[in-house]
């Protein structure tokens, strides 16, 4: 019961502050140029996500992103490989290829920032190149959780259920379940409304939840 109340509070708080720029399900489409921390989820087979600090929506021309960072999977010699790629400038003329774009409030981002300088965990591992930690796929399953058991990795992006998680770090606990720290969660509630929340930590039980993938972003690729 308490958990439900907390969740409701988070959703109410989030909805006041965040701006849904485009939502294909609810038919929301705000025309204009937007700046801030924007998550765009693509409608493709690989559940790609684009992170950007700007986005332009034009009814006639579509969605335009410059200096974005796209994360997802691609097939490479019949193997699924995680990628993260800088988008210099891209028009998504066909709105059909985007599921939603959401601008996260500065208040939430500031809370997210506070976790960034935590000196409690100085020895967090940075991956140089973007790589898959876990992929739940019938044909191309990848699971490196056991290998990273009791380690802490920086910059994970995950798709759990229909929610996107962007976290500062992820720890693989002794039961080989991932625990995300300082995470932003974007997803849809029971009424298909988009919502954003910040959680100091989030325990994800693989056996109980629908974890689709966990990608660890490469620090060198972020620097590009």
């Amino acid at each position: 019961m308490l958990g439900k109340i907390d969740l409701d509070l988070i959703i109410i708080m989030s909805n006041i502050d965040n701006s849904i720029l485009y939502d294909s399900v609810k038919g929301i489409q705000l025309e204009g140029e937007f700046e801030g921390s924007i998550i765009t989820r693509c409608k493709d087979d690989n559940d790609s996500v684009i992170f950007s600090d700007n986005l332009k929506i034009s009814n006639s021309e579509g969605i335009f992103i410059t200096e974005g960072f796209k994360v997802g999977f691609e097939l490479n010699y019949n193997k699924k490989v995680a990628f993260s790629r800088r988008i210099e400038a891209q028009w998504y003329e066909d709105f059909e290829s985007i599921e939603y774009s959401i601008l996260i409030s500065e208040d939430i981002m500031q809370i997210y920032d506070e976790g960034q300088f935590s000196d409690a965990f100085p020895y967090t591992l940075n991956k140089l190149n973007t790589a898959t930690l876990y992929l739940n796929d019938y044909q191309h399953e990848i699971n490196h959780l056991e290998f990273f058991k009791e380690e802490m990795l920086r910059n994970p992006v995950a798709l759990v259920g229909n929610g996107v998680i962007v976290a500062d770090r992820v720890v693989i606990d002794e039961r080989i379940d991932p625990v995300f720290y300082d995470c932003l969660i974007v997803g849809r509630d029971e009424d298909e409304e988009l919502s954003v929340s910040f959680e100091p930590y989030m325990n994800v039980k693989k056996s109980l939840t629908d974890v689709k993938y966990i990608i660890i972003l490469g620090i060198e690729e972020l620097k590009l």
Partner: protein, 410 residues
Amino acid sequence: MILYENSEARLLNIIRWGNNPFKKFVCTSEIKEELDLVKSRDTLIKNIKSIVKQNNNFILPIIGDVGSGKTHLFWSLKNNLYYYNAFYISLESVYRKFFYNIYSEFLENLKIGPLKFVVNQLCENWGALERKYGFFHVVDIEKVKHAAFKQLSTKYSEIESETLIDAINGITTHQLDPYKKIEAERWILGKLMDAKELSILNLSHDLHKGKNAYIMLRLLIENSKLGTILFIDDFEKIISIAKPQDKTPEEVFDPSWLYGSEMSPNDVASDKIFTKILQLQRIKGLRIIITLKSIDSLDQIKRKYQEFDSELLSLIKEPLYLKDFSEDDIFEFYRNTMSTFYDVIECNEFTQTFENPYFPLNKLILKNIFDQTQGNPRAIIKILIKIFNELIDDEENLDLILKKYENLDN
């Protein structure tokens, strides 16, 4: 079975076991004073609080005789202005390594939590929290250092580049490089470091050397959310270094024989410290309270300002005076001290027990002490210590002691 208890005898016994309620007549910066000032000094505290609230930079002189309670005033201010970082220095103790010693005192009062917060804020101001693609914090230490140097070299143009670079390296390494954090924290805390440790951190000097402590002090105070109050006790030391108080005609040795008549080593030392005080005054948000023994000292200091930097003269506020005790104050002070003593010996009920509220002394003795000392707090405490010591050491009859001090004039 005890049917009734003789509280007076019990208190006297406790005192005779060696418990003197009046233990010290000199207040120090090291031992916290819990006893508040007497009521007649409330106005002084109110005036100081109002000046502190209304001004960010000033020098406020407090003038009071020897033993009037100037150091005790510091503790009272610290308690009253608890939301400021108030710290104490005596010019005598920080004569050498001036900025380093002040920095150490400042940090000791600030504590590690707020220190880390300020250092974190500095890095944020220098762009360390820049979000790549709207989300990701990709720390580029070199970029942050470059931005920091650009900001600070314009703001503190009078400071040497090497000093600024050391401060920037120390702070950014502490915040952004987890593998060198522990060493960088030692540097920030002012520990002595050898050349190897410094070279790991890419630093030239630790905070003992040059102006490193000054720039760190300035950065921390100017970026601290808490206001800062520096209480400098015995400020006239700055004059006495130059002009020794001893005016005996006998001439044993005059430094001018060696160094020429214009600048003796004492003059040079005095000027050096004075120049450093002027530099402290340039720190935005640093409120300085100084204590002096006389108005003459203040006039001399003002003349010195005129000579060095007349612009800063305007920052010196009108002096406030710490007056000696009034007659009522001695009664209040005695009762408050006894009440604190009862707390310590866990006999709080004694505050209400005695018919004579000044037991084991009486009002007449306190009045006599006041007349004898003309209300000087230190002199009053000295006599009270003496009386209670007589009670402890000699185990004299209380009545005899009381009689002796009731006729104190004789």
